[in-house]
């Protein structure tokens, strides 16, 4: 029994690490750039497919593709914001209009990315195994790749947190999140900062997808939507635009998910959703919100 509980708890933490990383990227895009990026999950899917292709075609170690993929995903996100969302932001009459329109546009982006992936990789399920040998931990057994993913996501999250808290650019990002107009008056080049945030967001999604693909999940062009939903729920749980909150929320949701799917597999998404409902009606600002 003890081992079972440990099994579920550690499993939840391992899941939570990835959720936290994904949600932090989503939170950055919505909290600062004000784009509710529904295509976030599609970047996760792209990250997973990129790793799969690199690993099976050229035998590149997934941990090395981590370094390869990060700048590419950042640049993709940066360019998308510079060429599209920036213009949309300028042509929208108000922030509320921009939020609505940018969300709908990101649905368009979702369909674009998903169908390009379908054309390139096709619908059949893909997968690979990497570091799949078992590791025992106080009697509970896990595959080594899941522990690697937990460490990788915690380290990435920590680096990012330091970047936001300690550097000058991080300060500009935080300023832009609080009040974009005032930040601009204080000399922050706002379009640059927003595009950077969008780029960082897609980078985290891509890396999240890369880590997810390592844990021998099934990779399909349709896998993204589920992760987008999870990111939305985690972000609301932790408070919009709150990176620390996203991390705590990610671990909570990971734990709840594994506990529920241990009791009744197939209902974990329903459980996430009930949390979401409860939270929205009791505390819409999130657990760390004011």
């Amino acid at each position: 029994m003890m081992v079972k509980i440990l099994d579920v708890l550690i499993g939840g933490l391992l899941m939570g690490g990835i959720y936290a990383l994904i949600a932090a990227g989503f939170s950055l895009q919505y909290g600062v750039a004000r784009v509710l990026n529904v295509s976030h999950g599609e970047f996760i899917m792209l990250g997973a497919f990129a790793t799969w292709s690199l690993y099976t075609l050229w035998g590149v170690n997934p941990l090395i593709s981590l370094i390869l993929c990060a700048p590419i995903f950042f640049i993709i996100g940066f360019i998308i914001h510079r060429t599209y969302y920036k213009r949309l932001r300028i042509s929208s009459e108000s922030l509320a209009v921009f939020e609505g329109n940018s969300m709908l546009a990101s649905f368009g982006l979702l369909f674009i990315i998903q169908n390009i992936a379908l054309i390139v990789w096709g619908a059949p399920v893909k997968g690979y195994s990497y570091l799949a040998y078992p590791v025992s931990f106080f009697g509970a057994v896990f595959s080594a790749n899941r522990i690697v993913t937990l460490f990788a996501s915690v380290i990435l999250g920590f680096i990012f947190y330091l970047f936001l808290a300690r550097t000058r650019l991080g300060k500009a990002i935080r300023a832009a999140a609080q009040d974009p107009d005032a930040a601009e008056l204080m000399g922050v080049s706002i379009n640059q900062v927003l595009a950077l945030c969008f780029g960082f967001g897609s980078m985290m999604a891509g890396l999240g997808g890369l880590l997810i693909s390592m844990t021998s999940v099934m990779i399909t062009p349709f896998m993204g939507l589920e992760y987008t939903l999870i990111a939305i729920i985690v972000v609301v749980l932790g408070g919009l635009g709150n990176i620390k909150g996203s991390f705590i929320g990610g671990f909570i949701l990971g734990l709840v998910g594994t506990i529920v799917s241990y009791i009744q597999p197939g209902l974990s998404l329903v459980a996430y959703y009930l949390i979401f409902l409860l939270l929205l009606s009791v505390r819409p600002t999130g657990i760390l919100g004011k």
Binding site: V38, G108, N115, V270
Partner: protein, 310 residues
């Protein structure tokens, strides 16, 4: 005088054409038109709520699916109009509940919530079918396509009259004022929450009704077809593409896209959906008021042309 009879005249002409259509056209064309009408009705009902208030609902697929399941369960024992109405009522109740819980929230939270609602109900139905009833999917008693077609035409007329009625009434003004400034609307004595929740439920009612009717044509249903997430996005795109200021906007937008859907979706599904995404992307940036906005701009240029020359 001629202006006054322009729109009623067009409507009567359209109805005569729609009513006579099955006498002259082949079965395939009747089924095709039924599909077009389905999208037109869903888009019009979506606009009743979201067009006026600015709250973007992504729940149409949920209401549609609830209508589908309600009618699939009841169709063997009841009379056609009765179970269609029950399908609508089921969606009405669901929307009422969801609206009462979430419409106090800011617009974006509402949108996220409705987006998740579709997935929630689909997953739950799937789980229920696997674990409780033991069979995924069910067969439905089929009806002939002309009956379904006429049912669709009647629903279309009802939706059109309802939207028109709302736009002309005090209730519609209240909705409009909510869309422009919710706080001001509340201060002028509009019961904001009640108006929003009721309208949301009303628009869900029609979507549920369409779902219940379409079930008869599909004959076999399972959660992925009943709660197809595309049914949530299509009306949004169609309404934006057509424009939401007048009633003809959603009708034009829905007709164009459902015809495209029929021609392209079966032959090139991936390229079609890619095109769908690109259109959504482009329309939002370059035509924020849709076809209607383009027409209005063009008309203004006609009118204001001479003065600009001087």
């Amino acid at each position: 005088m001629t202006r006054r009879y322009f729109w009623p005249g067009i409507l009567v002409l359209l109805l005569i054409l729609l009513a006579g259509f099955p006498r002259y056209a082949s079965a395939y064309k009747v089924i095709f038109l039924t599909n077009v009408l389905m999208y037109v009705i869903i888009t019009l009902s979506w606009v009743i709520f979201s067009g006026a208030t600015g709250y973007i609902s992504l729940a149409p697929a949920a209401f549609f699916g609830v209508g589908v399941y309600a009618s699939a369960i009841l169709s063997k024992s009841l009379f056609l109009p009765v179970f269609i109405a029950i399908g609508g009522l089921a969606s009405f109740c669901l929307a009422f509940l969801v609206g009462a819980l979430t419409l106090r929230l800011r617009g974006m939270y509402f949108t996220m919530f409705t987006f998740g609602l579709v997935e929630l109900i689909r997953h739950f139905t799937q789980w229920w079918e696997v674990n409780v009833t033991g069979t995924v999917g069910r067969l439905v008693l089929a009806l002939d396509h002309t009956t379904i077609y006429y049912a669709m035409v009647i629903i279309f007329l009802l939706v059109l009259l309802t939207s028109y009625g709302i736009r002309r009434s005090k209730f519609g003004l209240a909705l409009q004022s909510i869309g422009e400034c919710e706080e001001a609307a509340a201060h002028t004595g509009v019961n904001v929450t009640r108006v929003k929740v009721f309208t949301f439920a009303l628009s869900a009612f029609f979507i549920g009704v369409v779902g219940a009717t379409m079930t008869m044509r599909w004959q076999y249903i399972d959660p992925p077809t009943a709660f197809d997430i595309r049914l949530s996005f299509m009306p949004v795109l169609m309404a934006i593409f057509g424009g939401m200021g007048h009633l003809y906007g959603p009708i034009v937008g829905a007709s164009i896209f459902s015809v495209l859907d029929e021609i392209l979706a079966t032959k090139f599904p991936y390229y079609y959906m890619l095109l769908f995404g690109v259109t959504m992307f482009v329309v939002i940036l370059f035509m924020p008021h849709g076809v209607e906005g383009v027409i209005q701009k063009w008309r203004q240029r006609e009118k204001g042309g001479p003065s600009e020359k001087t």
